[in-house]
C-alpha cells in the first residue's frame, strides 16, 4: 500500500471512530461527576468569588453542596441565552465518550426528576456521570424544577464559532472508553 493510500485509510478509520464519540467537558460538584457537551463550552479560567456556582443555576438541592472546592469558571455558549459563566468544581477535563456509554434518562427520572438541565446519564470506567444540557431551561429563569421539560429536540447547537475553541489548552484532555 502506498503511503498516501495508508494515510487516507487511517484518516477514514479515524473519521468513522470519531463519529461514534461525543466530546464532553467533565467536572465535579459535591461528589457528583457532571458533563456538558463541549460544543456548549467556550472556555475555562479561574473563577471569581462573584461567579454563581453551577448548581445555583441548575437550581436543585445537592446534599453538602457549597461553593466549589476547586473552582473553575466555565464559559458557556447557550442558544437563545448567549454566553454565560458559572463556577464548577475541578478537575475539568475534556473527554471523548463512546455514544453507547451515554444513555437516555430512564422513564422514572424523565417523569419525576426536577433537575432542569439533566439530559442523559453516562457510564464509563469512572462510574456514572450526569450529562447536562444548558438548552433545557431558560437561563433567565433557572432553578424552578417544575418548569422544566423545555423540549430541545430540533434545537441547533451553536455554530462553529461557539465551539470549545480556547478550551483545549486549558482543560486537561482525556479519553475514556465505553463500558
Amino acid at each position: 500500500m502506498r503511503p498516501r493510500d495508508r494515510a487516507d485509510l487511517v484518516d477514514r478509520v479515524d473519521r468513522v471512530d470519531r463519529a461514534d464519540l461525543v466530546d464532553l467537558v467533565t467536572f465535579g460538584h459535591a461528589g457528583l461527576r457532571l458533563a456538558i457537551e463541549s460544543v456548549f463550552v467556550k472556555g475555562m479560567g479561574p473563577a471569581s468569588a462573584s461567579l454563581p456556582p453551577l448548581f445555583d443555576k441548575v437550581g436543585v438541592e445537592v446534599p453538602g453542596r457549597s461553593v466549589p472546592a476547586r473552582p473553575f469558571a466555565l464559559s458557556l455558549a447557550i442558544p437563545l441565552s448567549g454566553n454565560r459563566a458559572v463556577s464548577v468544581e475541578g478537575p475539568v477535563e475534556l473527554q471523548s465518550l463512546d455514544k453507547r456509554a451515554i444513555h437516555p434518562l430512564p422513564a422514572a427520572l424523565a417523569l419525576r426528576c426536577a433537575m432542569p438541565w439533566l439530559r442523559a446519564i453516562a457510564y464509563d470506567a469512572g462510574g456514572f456521570m450526569l450529562v447536562l444540557d444548558p438548552r433545557r431551561e431558560s437561563w433567565t429563569n433557572p432553578g424552578i424544577g417544575s418548569t422544566l421539560t423545555a423540549r430541545v429536540a430540533g434545537d441547533e447547537p451553536p455554530r462553529a464559532g461557539g465551539r470549545i475553541g480556547a478550551v483545549p489548552n486549558e482543560i486537561r484532555g482525556g479519553s475514556n472508553g465505553a463500558t
Partner: protein, 170 residues
C-alpha cells in the same frame, strides 16, 4: 441403524408435556416479596430480573422515593421505593437485599425490596378477592390476593403501582 424412537425421544416428549402443563392458561406465575416484614406479590410477567441490591448513584432533584440509578446489563435503570405509594412508610436504608426490574407498557424501573420470598405458579382459580379490610391505598392497586402460609398476600397490579408512584402518591 438405531431405533426410530429412542429413550431420549420419550424422555423429551414427557418433559414437553410437563412444560405444556405448567404453561397452562389457567396458571399464573407470581413473585412474592417483602417490604418491611409484610408480603406482597407481583405477576411474574412484569418482572424482568431479580438482582442483588446495589448502592444507587444519587441524582439530584429527585423525590426521596426515586433513589438514583443502577447499571444492569449495560443499561441504566432507575431505582424506586414503592412503599409510600402503597400507603406505607419508606423502606429503611441498608435493609433491602434485592432489586426487582419491573416493566409495564408505561414504565420500567428497578424496585427496591427487602426480600424475595418465593416464585410460584398458581392456578388463577385459587386467587381470592382482596379483603375489604385492606387499606384503601392498597385496594386501589390490588384486587386479588393469594393464600400463602395461612395468610393472604396482596397481588399488586404493577401498572397501577407505577401510576401511583408517578403521581407522587405517598
Amino acid at each position: 441403524m438405531g431405533p426410530e424412537r429412542s429413550a431420549l425421544d420419550e424422555a423429551l416428549e414427557a418433559r414437553s408435556g410437563e412444560s405444556a402443563a405448567s404453561a397452562d392458561e389457567g396458571s399464573l406465575a407470581v413473585l412474592v416479596f417483602e417490604l418491611d416484614g409484610e408480603a406482597f406479590a407481583f405477576e411474574g410477567r412484569y418482572i424482568k430480573a431479580v438482582l442483588p441490591m446495589s448502592e444507587p448513584f444519587f441524582v439530584p432533584g429527585c423525590p426521596p422515593t426515586l433513589e438514583g440509578v443502577i447499571l444492569h446489563q449495560g443499561e441504566v435503570e432507575s431505582l424506586i421505593d414503592i412503599s409510600p405509594a402503597l400507603g406505607r412508610k419508606p423502606l429503611a436504608k441498608g435493609k433491602s437485599r434485592f432489586v426487582l426490574i419491573g416493566q409495564t407498557a408505561g414504565l420500567r424501573s428497578g424496585i427496591r425490596v427487602d426480600l424475595v420470598v418465593d416464585v410460584l405458579s398458581i392456578p388463577e382459580s385459587s386467587l381470592i378477592p382482596t379483603p375489604a379490610s385492606v387499606r384503601q391505598a392498597l385496594r386501589d392497586m390490588s384486587t386479588r390476593a393469594i393464600e400463602r402460609g395461612g395468610g393472604l398476600v396482596p397481588l399488586l397490579d404493577l401498572p397501577s403501582v407505577f401510576a401511583a408512584w408517578a403521581r407522587g402518591a405517598g
